[in-house]
């Protein structure tokens, strides 16, 4: 399996002064699949995303299958330009990617998908927090990417808003499926979104659990207690650390 890896990292090594994050670490992702990476905070999840995106170069090892693909991002904060309207924000990354005559229909399609039809002319200050995050989601999907990287995209939101956003996310993903790699420390978020669930240990990182090939529909919002309990106990183990 290792030898025919299509998408992932192989033998990466990455350390900061005083802390080794990755030591000969390899991980493969399935394409057109939502992979959720769980782990205790500070375990190098964001470092991995930065390596995958090419914004951080590992000290050795390689990333496979990312170099020639287009990536888009959903951050923890919406990161909208306050001086641009919703439409302007959606257009900001894609201006060169989509022919001008197609842009309007293109953006309207994505606005519809996140239930923001008719809101294109509003400025970010006129939107609620949830609406802003939906714009950020639309921006990531409207960008013609092959892979979406998500860093704690639903963190710090109240439960109903979070559910609402995750539903939007899955709706838009079903319409425009692509490879999603999401980092989170929220078990329920991972359960709701992920086909593949991966649990990281404390650094140096190892994969302590991997639950693959889940069918989302079985568990979204209905909650699969067995998997949930398994994940939580794995996370507890991973979170146990010599200095705690």
């Amino acid at each position: 399996m290792e030898s025919i890896m299509k998408l992932g990292v192989r033998n990466i090594r990455m350390s900061y002064p005083g802390q080794e994050i990755f030591r000969e670490f390899s991980l493969e992702f399935r394409e057109n699949t939502i992979t959720c990476i769980l782990g205790p905070s500070g375990c190098g999840k964001t470092t991995l995303l930065n390596i995958l995106s090419g914004n951080l170069r590992p000290q050795s090892g390689e990333r496979i299958g990312f170099g020639n693909r287009k990536l888009s991002y959903i951050f923890q904060e919406p990161r909208l330009l306050p001086w641009k309207t919703v439409t302007g924000n959606l257009l900001f990354p894609v201006k060169e990617q989509i022919p001008p005559e197609k842009q309007e229909a293109w953006l309207n399609h994505y606005l519809d998908l996140v239930n923001l039809q008719g809101k294109g002319h509003l400025y970010p200050y006129q939107l609620s927090g949830g609406m802003k995050q939906r714009v950020a989601m639309a921006r990531a999907f409207a960008f013609p990417s092959d892979i979406i990287l998500m860093d704690e995209a639903f963190r710090g939101l109240d439960l109903s808003l979070k559910m609402n956003l995750m539903e939007s996310f899955l709706r838009i993903w079903k319409e425009h499926p692509r490879t999603v790699i999401a980092v989170t420390h929220d078990v329920d978020e991972a359960l709701a979104l992920g086909h593949d669930l991966i649990v990281f240990s404390h650094p140096p990182v190892s994969v302590v659990d991997r639950i693959g090939q889940r069918k989302q529909e079985e568990t979204v919002f209905t909650g699969n207690t067995k998997i949930r309990n398994r994940l939580i106990s794995r996370l507890m183990e991973a979170g146990r650390h010599p200095d705690r």
């Binding site: 991002y73 951050f75 200050y125």
Partner: protein
């Protein structure tokens, strides 16, 4: 809120009225137009200036000098400000220059400029020197206050550099730029007139003021002052208009 608004307007109106009354009283006590002319005399003189032959050219030249100095300082301040705001070494290099320029008395610049330059150039140079450090400092501050997360987002999505400058840096510093410009214009306008008083170019508000003072035409001196204040108000208003257009994306 509407009632409060009109109430405040009323207070402003009454305050102006009181000031005029005080002026009237003072001029009456002095008893001489040579020392302090009455408000109505001054208004009459101001109106008489408006129809004078050299009025348009005097005002025009002064405004032109101010605007030339302003344009020079704006171009240099924005360019240098963006450079210094993004490269810490450049900031470290020009910081002492900016601090020195800001704290040097205007009169020192004028006295030196009188030695270095031709009469016509002195006010322009002074306008430039007073406005440049203010605008430049504000641009640097604007760049440094830019949201790093937004920059990261733009870079992650591989937005071209040119568009990042045009669509992220420039609008991001716009509020700082307009506030810098409005402060700078206030200082610059006064500096141009002082420069004219001392360098005496052929035509200009400062030149006219100096002449009025020489011949003890106090009402004319105050009349030119009134005109200078009104023009300054006009530019202030112009900037506020530009500002509200530029920054309409901000919550009101």
């Amino acid at each position: 809120m509407n009632r409060l608004f009109t109430k405040n307007k009323l207070i402003t109106f009454v305050s102006v009225l009181l000031l005029l009354l005080l002026w009237k009283l003072a001029s009456w006590l002095m008893g001489s137009d040579l020392i302090l002319p009455s408000p109505e005399k001054t208004i009459a003189t101001t109106l008489s200036l408006l129809i004078r032959e050299e009025f348009i050219s005097a005002v025009g030249y002064t405004v032109l000098r101010g605007l030339t100095g302003f344009a020079l300082s704006l171009v240099l301040a924005v360019g240098l400000g963006i450079w210094a705001g993004t490269v810490p070494a450049v900031h470290a290099a020009i910081k002492p220059v900016l601090v020195t320029l800001r704290s040097t008395p205007v009169i020192s610049f004028i006295l030196l400029a009188l030695i270095w330059f031709r009469v016509e150039q002195v006010p322009v140079f002074i306008a430039f020197l007073t406005m440049f450090p203010i605008v430049c400092t504000n641009v640097i501050e604007g760049i440094r206050s830019l949201d790093g997360d937004l920059l990261e987002m733009a870079e992650f999505f591989r937005v071209p550099r040119k568009r990042i400058i045009r669509e992220l840096y420039i609008p991001g510093i716009a509020p700082f730029l307009t506030s810098g410009i409005s402060t700078a214009i206030g200082f610059g306008w006064r500096a141009v007139i002082i420069g004219e008083v001392l360098s005496q170019p052929g035509l200009g508000i400062g030149t006219q003021m100096q002449q009025a003072q020489t011949y003890l035409m106090v009402s004319e001196l105050i009349a030119w002052t009134v005109i200078a204040v009104l023009i300054s108000y006009f530019f202030e208003w112009l900037i506020t208009q530009a500002e509200s257009r530029l920054i309409q994306w901000k919550a009101s």
